[in-house]
Symmetry: C2
Subunit: 352 residues, 2 copies
């Protein structure tokens, strides 16, 4: 008796006795395919038969197994999102926007946080590919995305956001970090500042490099030299940022003297620097990259170079689904403008 090898009866399987279409068919006294037709709203079933099937479905608590459906149909109606940190106030609305686009296309969003670690980004992206997501939206942490090549050529639509892909050609949706930073620094210069510092993210991160470039460009355009001690790139944890800010503000290790104004490279840096400045006697001008909630209610209100994270996400989602619908266009790069929002902190005059 080979049957003894099978522990479970056909009607109640596994730990969680999930009924299948077969069980529904048996109970309703119809064929398997008829149940499938009812479940999928396909035509060709008499009202009476349909009623019997529906009764059986509710009686058994049947729910279609989408894993099996996916396997059979090939497409999963889900897209993956890999970002740095879901809880970051910049990325959260971006994620939400991608979700909305996915939802409009009937797809679910699976997301994972890379914690700014290239290896973890890779693991996540590949795990999502193994689940056969139809598409991927990636805010890259790593500096080599060739590992995605087989996936992309196997048909996984892929869009990069906030930062471009490294070493492969792929769609990207970016903010114009260079221009944004340049305008921010020009704003400070226009208000009389000559010694301006920049505190940014790790230099390997594209946006950080671009913002630094924008900073240097604005300084150069104004004929201002940049002292080496005025630029500090690194991790955006409060400790490092606080130390660098304090160093620049007293002018320690600098022949050129302390800075009178700061450009901060992203929302986390800005918040830390706002804290540092709040403890100071003298007033220091500040322009922050990224808008943030309550910036307008601080004293002084914080002038920012604003991006639109939700728009970045939406554009990325739209690009993704356009690809999924089979546009065979070349990879393209969408660059969104930033917007300088003067609120006061950028208009503080130089101290010395």
């Amino acid at each position: 008796m080979a049957d003894t090898a099978r522990p479970a009866r056909s009607s109640r399987r596994r730990y969680g006795l999930r009924p299948t279409m077969k069980d529904v068919a048996a109970r309703a006294g119809v064929g398997l395919k008829t149940v499938s037709r009812v479940v999928n709203g396909e035509p060709g079933v008499t009202p009476d038969t349909e009623r019997r099937v529906r009764e059986a479905i509710t009686a058994l608590g049947f729910r279609r197994n989408d894993s099996a459906r996916i396997l059979r149909k090939g497409r999963t109606a889900s897209v993956g999102l890999v970002l740095e940190d879901l809880a970051d106030p910049f990325y959260a609305p971006l994620s939400r926007a991608v979700e909305e686009v996915a939802r409009a296309h009937g797809a679910l969003l699976i997301n994972g946080s890379s914690a700014e670690d290239g290896e973890r980004e890779r693991e996540l992206a590949l795990a999502l590919c193994a689940r056969r997501v139809d598409g991927l939206v990636i805010i890259p942490a790593g500096d080599d995305h060739r590992y995605l090549e087989p996936e992309i050529s196997a048909g996984v639509a892929t869009v990069f956001v906030d930062r471009p892909a490294a070493r492969i050609e792929a769609d990207a949706v970016l903010s114009d970090s260079f221009t944004g930073a340049r305008e921010g620094v020009a704003h400070l210069i226009a208000h009389g500042h000559r010694r301006i510092g920049f505190i940014g993210d790790l230099p390997r991160i594209h946006t950080a490099a671009e913002r630094l470039r924008g900073y240097r460009a604005a300084m150069a355009e104004a004929g201002l030299a940049v002292d080496g001690s005025w630029v500090a790139l690194g991790p955006t944890g409060p400790g490092r940022v606080r130390a660098d800010a304090e160093r620049m503000l007293v002018g320690r290790g600098s022949a050129a003297g302390p800075v009178t104004a700061l450009l901060t490279g992203n929302n986390r840096v800005t918040v830390t620097v706002v804290r540092v400045l709040a403890g100071l006697e003298r007033r220091v001008a500040l322009v922050g990259f990224d808008d943030f909630e309550l910036a307008d209610l601080l004293t002084p209100p914080v002038t920012v170079v604003a991006q639109e994270p939700a728009l970045l996400g939406r554009r990325a989602g739209e690009l993704l689904f356009r690809r999924l619908e089979g546009s065979g266009e070349e990879p393209r790069r969408v660059v969104l403008p930033t917007r300088l929002i003067p609120r006061g902190s950028g208009e503080v005059p130089p101290h010395s």
Copy 2:
């Protein structure tokens, strides 16, 4: 010839020519199962055979199809999270914490935003069940979760967070909203306030109802009557909240006069009210439910009743995986304490 019906060759299928184990096996000149063994690191494969298989895998760019694996194995190693809004600064860290727990257990997190709509919550939760997530974490929007009963008894571990399930028994991880609100109001009373308003979320939301209860309890304990015009529950959009706040502050429609202090029911409400108060001449005391970034840098710094969203998420995740590992315990309710953080805005003395 029935074969003409099959358009694709066996080695390159579908749009995106995904190689399968069969293809790998053919190329390596071994059996299907041997490939499976190599991919899964099972013992019993000679080094030489393994090498051949690995070569074929990289040559073809093979990646295991987890959909098929899931179908076969029964467990998906993924959990679902349904919350109101991924972009909300309260829920984002909660989501991230659940993700971390899932990651520690080798599972992926699929999340969806219900937009505070019970019907959408239901759709999302059931869609996740259809994908056969192993477990579900839900921040409920709806007021009847009986639709989950078949899923739960089919083995989907389910944990509710922030608010309890309605009309079913299920695990829940909550903050102690009642005590938190009571302490917040007691703090205001201790600083001399007698006319205290409460602006909260929709009354059908459990936390809003509990916070209102806490507010009333504190008032009653101090022997203070509550004027009907001092309580405003409703959607937390800025328009409604602003209107209610302004109404309370001038005492329009109230025999008892304008309030001198406010308890706000969640972070969104607090932020809107902070904006309203910033435009006022007189100083109004404020205690906000939920801590938020920069609360300490506003003028005056905002006193809050803090919850720990990340801890809520972590506990929920842990509870979920404990269930998944088969603890057959009764559904339990975990209640986490809140913490009053005095910063100044709650200590403003009454105006009149």
